[in-house]
Assembly symmetry: D2
Homo-oligomer: 91 residues x 4
């Protein structure tokens, strides 16, 4: 089990909040809300998703790359995972 | 009714796909999946959200800022909405 | 002459500061500085460049898209320019 | 001496190209170029700076975080440097 799921409650709460934001976007489109309002909801949900990704990448660097005692293979794998997340970020 | 909700089906499909990605993140945390897998899911969902925001901002610029015949107030309001989405983007 | 160059001094000062940051990166590589120091300089210069782009895009939206009295062609051209800058931003 | 400066020529070439882009922005403002042209130059320079930062962060992760044989202190320091660059990225 990884560090992310050692204490999943806080992370789950955050993910469920984002799920709520996405559901709000869906309702706003179904109810033919004003474009400016929909734009604002999407920008806010994207910001929340970026914040979640920030937190997960940082935890991943600490737990699976920098932490003493990891195997060289563990570190190489985690390096690839962080770099891929980072590349998506700059896309 | 705005341009976004003139033909909402395509947009709704895209938002529901993102809702599915967020639900998959939730399940992966609940089932104590491997951190690398969770990181990948979150990076992908954020990428999808960014793509959605791109599309909505572009449509908003065309429909509520550049389109002939809009009132000065409409344009001023849309300018503020686009700039706020843009600022969130660079945060 | 556009709005950007109506009062170019402030903008020039900002661009010259970024030029100074880029020159500092060059010197740090030539003098075989420590990688962490070079990484920090590049991240800072990129942040300054993002800030400059933010400011220029916002001014462009106000002056060439939302401002009363512009021609439809002017607005269409400016819309394209802002969207292209925005797309690069999300790359 | 770090990995970045083990073979500095390629990196220097890239930084000097960015310096040239920044100088071109300066000239375009001084010569009262059209706003759309200035916007394009700045967006392109920012894109080049982002690409440089991508490359340096990736190399830093490989060389100072994941590489076998590093000390725990080296890894902890590099973790902090990558996270700070990453945070600036999402700002």
């Amino acid at each position: 089990m990884g560090h992310l799921t050692a204490d999943p409650e806080a992370l789950l709460k955050r993910v469920r909040r984002i799920a709520g934001q996405v559901a709000a976007i869906e309702r706003s489109i179904e109810s033919r809300a004003e474009c400016g309002a929909i734009l604002h909801l999407v920008a806010a949900a994207r910001g929340a998703m970026s914040g979640l990704l920030d937190e997960i990448v940082e935890a991943h660097i600490h737990e699976h790359l920098a932490k003493p005692g990891l195997s060289d293979d563990d570190r190489a794998k985690a390096a690839q995972e962080v770099i891929q997340a980072f590349r998506r970020y700059s896309k």
